[in-house]
């Protein structure tokens, strides 16, 4: 909420331009936490913090995946419904086919990766604009989830599926596994982006796709790889979601893609490509859930929570534009 203030406060300090947005987002997160802690004694309590982290996990994993595609200058509108489709497919493997839990997990991730592959192929090989290709994929997977599940939730209540809820909810040191998985994936995503060839080409394509292609890089191939990564992350999010609810809900998930994109954008990743970071996305996702949670504790009606989150997204992007104009 205090984005502009921190921007001016941090101005005299010499910080690399790329780090600036992260510092800004991080400072906003701290400010929010301080604000809610002061405003309500119910906010900064172990249970509540765990609740926030747990609710960040699903959207957070989706946002981690979306970061990859957005850095190429593309967009993936299908991650929300791909997530749903992946959780439905996990249900199909475990409950309908009666296979052990690990098969269901692999099935869910593969479903996400396959959807990503198709989107990536449409974008890179058929030259369909990412917005359109993934909009189509969004609707296709939304429909398929309903068809495959017979429009009813799939429950993980069979004997061999009893442990499925533990995937996200088993506790280690009082913290649910889903939270560890989110942060673990964040580390992996961060390593992919900054240390591997995939990440290098990801930034290169977003920065100047034609120059990258002319440098002899097979940009179409790498774009498909990047969409597959985004899809696989959506698959993992689907498994976490299903495990948390102990059921695959075929009607849930639409709209999650926009929250994921919002988290990525708040974290300073540029929608025009070339710039962005995983740390930023993690902070962005946390800002969104801290804000929602804190406002709920302050008894702000849910309608208004949505309005405020919307304003934060606009404010975050505007702060980024201001910062760049000054440079």
């Amino acid at each position: 909420m205090k984005l502009t203030e921190t921007a001016t406060a941090a101005k005299p300090v010499m910080i690399k331009p790329g780090a600036m947005q992260k510092v800004l987002a991080f400072a906003s997160l701290i400010l929010l936490i301080v604000f809610f802690t002061v405003s309500s004694e119910n906010f900064f309590r172990f249970d509540n913090i765990i609740g926030i982290l747990l609710s960040t996990a699903v959207i957070g994993v989706l946002a981690l995946g979306s970061t990859f595609v957005i850095i190429t200058g593309g967009i993936d509108l299908s991650v929300g419904t791909v997530m749903t489709f992946a959780s439905v497919m996990t249900g199909v493997v475990i409950t309908f086919w009666g296979l052990p839990i690990p098969f269901g997990i692999v099935g869910g991730i593969l479903t996400g990766a396959l959807c990503g592959f198709i989107s990536g192929w449409l974008v890179a090989k058929m030259n369909i604009p990412p917005f359109i290709a993934t909009l189509g994929m969004m609707m296709v997977t939304k429909g398929l989830s309903l068809i495959v599940s017979g429009t009813k939730p799939i429950y993980f209540t069979d004997d061999h599926a009893k442990g499925f809820t533990q995937v996200a909810m088993a506790k280690l040191l009082g913290i649910p596994l889903a939270v560890y998985i989110f942060f673990g994936l964040a580390v992996i995503a961060s390593v992919i982006l900054s240390k591997t060839i995939v990440g290098r080409y990801n930034f290169a394509i977003g920065s100047n796709e034609e120059a990258t292609r002319l440098s002899g890089v097979n940009t179409a191939y790498w774009k498909i790889v990047i969409y597959v990564i985004t899809g696989a992350f959506a698959g993992i999010a689907g498994i976490l979601m299903a495990s948390r609810l102990n059921s695959a809900q075929p009607a849930l998930g639409a709209g999650y893609e926009l929250e994921a994109i919002a988290a990525v954008v708040i974290g300073g990743t540029s929608l025009s490509g070339g710039r962005g970071s995983i740390l930023g996305t993690v902070i962005g996702a946390l800002i969104m859930s801290v804000l929602t949670n804190g406002l709920r504790i302050l008894s702000v009606p849910q309608e208004w929570q949505i309005v405020l989150v919307g304003l934060v997204v606009i404010l975050a992007v505007y702060a980024d534009i201001l910062r760049r104009r000054r440079k």
Partner: protein, 503 residues
């Protein structure tokens, strides 16, 4: 000594044009070889064939004495042929080292992991060879254009290039940056790299090149040693006198001296310096110069499309405050961009809409309804008056030919009652027959009292159409010639008059 590269009898055919007609070019080791010619002479096409961008339709290329096949840019890189393009091909969000090694990153033992320490070290060594003080980990977007160019040169060298092609390398550089570039060129030369240097700047050619090859209209003209060849001779070879003898008698300057537009001391940092000129009623004034001379920038400044740092614009003797294109249009100035499709037309819309788009105030009722009949009347009037060939006024503009599209843009500004038309490259991309038609139309418009500022890179066009010719070089006006006294040689001399040479 055996030449590094020999290109012989190179032929390149594009649909409708013979771009290269049995051209030749030769490059020795440790030589800086200039390739000169007017815009469209075939220099770039020749070099694109050498670097595998285009496939040749005939002739052969010998590289280090044996025949070489260069099907794509990768093959050229593999042979050690590098090119520094006029527009830089870099990824601004990546570091210097990451840019140099894009597409061939050294990996660690684990399959996908990058070894950034290795590329940083290699880059540092490369930069040291060129005596450049740059940090390999600096982001390219934080560098000046000159430094970015150095990164491109370092990148080309990292391929162990033995041939380096530089296309107008000094176009965007300041004087001290040019010195730095020349130092690096000297460095490369001493290591035996052969350099092809494409430039229009005669003083630079005299300073750093060893030989000069001249091309004209897709043909090889001659190769001469730089030493002992006069600049005038080079220009004469570039222009080729005999070619334009048939153009029609030049228009005489208008006797009527009513000044419609006057520009005084226009300045825009990095683009225009102290530009002053005036345009008279019923006059076509040709603006000649090489690419990047500041002609389009002048037009955009007068039209309010770019902000100016200082200077005055007077219209009919009154100072005019032009802060944006809307102000310019209100003062009766119409601008026809060289890029018609991007800046001039709504190609997905029909003829009548395009003709009225700049004047909608005249075509709507007070409540905002469009007045269809009035639009149609206007469209019919201009389709007839400008002889626009279209099956109907409802035809989508994208289906019309380039010449007819240009006429529609003219009609658009006539609808708006503009009496000053700034036309940038009026016949670019328009075929020969339609060209004559556009010329006739411009003549008629001038006779009707319209004032036309015509920017053109085609000298015959300038000579044929202009009552007066204003020549620009490096953002300054270097001279003015009357229609009668203007010649190709005279214009070229003014167009290549760089500041030092002008003294």
């Amino acid at each position: 000594m055996e030449p590094l590269v020999v290109m012989e009898d190179i032929v390149k055919q594009f649909p409708g044009v013979l771009a290269l007609d049995r051209c030749r070019f030769e490059l020795r080791r440790g030589e800086v070889h200039a390739l000169v010619g007017e815009n469209g002479a075939g220099k770039s096409t020749m070099m694109k064939i050498l670097t595998g961008v285009y496939a040749k339709d005939g002739g052969r290329i010998l590289y280090k004495g044996s025949e070489a096949d260069i099907p794509d840019t990768r093959a050229a890189q593999g042979l050690g042929i590098g090119i520094i393009h006029q527009e830089l091909h870099l990824m601004p969000d990546l570091t210097i080292a990451q840019n140099i090694f894009i597409g061939r990153e050294p990996r660690r033992k684990l399959p996908l992991l990058l070894d950034d320490r290795a590329i940083n070290a290699k880059t540092e060594a490369l930069l040291r060879q060129l005596n450049l003080r740059l940090d390999p980990e600096e982001k390219v977007s934080d560098l000046t254009v000159a430094k970015q160019q150095m990164v491109e040169i370092a990148k080309a060298l990292s391929f162990e290039s033995e041939v380096l092609i530089m296309d107008e390398p000094t176009a965007a550089l300041t004087a001290s940056e040019i010195e730095e570039l020349f130092r690096v060129i000297g460095e490369l030369k001493s290591r035996g790299v052969g350099i092809v240097y494409i430039s229009h700047r005669m003083d630079e050619l005299k300073r750093i090149t060893d030989r000069i090859t001249v091309m004209r209209d897709g043909c090889y003209v001659n190769t001469v040693p730089t030493e002992g060849t006069a600049v005038d001779d080079i220009i004469a070879m570039m222009v080729g006198r005999q070619l334009y003898a048939e153009s029609k008698p030049k228009p005489a300057a208008r006797t009527n001296q009513e000044t419609v537009l006057e520009v005084r001391g226009l300045n825009r940092k990095g683009a225009l310096r102290d530009v002053s000129f005036h345009l008279n009623r019923g006059e076509i004034v040709g603006f000649a110069g090489l690419m990047g001379a500041g002609r389009t920038e002048t037009a955009r400044a007068v039209f309010g499309a770019d902000p100016i740092d200082s200077g005055d614009i007077l219209i009919h003797g009154e100072p005019a405050r032009i802060k944006g294109p809307d102000d310019a249009v209100r003062h009766g100035i119409g601008y026809l961009s060289e890029d018609r499709k991007q800046f001039g037309l709504l190609v997905e819309m029909d003829v009548k809409t395009n003709l009225s788009i700049a004047s909608y105030d005249g075509f709507r009722s007070r409540l905002g309804w469009m007045r269809q009949t009035r639009m149609e009347q206007n469209a019919r009037k201009h389709v007839e008056g400008l002889r626009i060939k279209t099956p109907s006024i409802d035809q989508l503009v994208k289906y019309l030919s380039g010449g007819n599209q240009q006429k529609i843009i003219i009609g658009k500004w006539l609808t708006r009652d503009c009496d000053i038309l700034i036309i940038d490259e009026p016949t670019r991309g328009i075929d020969v027959g339609a060209k004559a038609e556009i010329y006739k139309l411009l003549d008629e418009l001038a006779q009707q009292g319209k004032t036309i500022m015509m920017i053109s890179s085609e000298l015959p066009e300038i000579l044929r159409m202009s009552h007066r010719v204003i020549v620009m070089c490096e953002g300054r006006i270097t001279g003015e010639l009357s229609g009668e006294e203007a010649t190709q040689e005279g214009i070229m001399k003014l167009a290549t008059m760089r500041e030092e040479a002008a003294g």
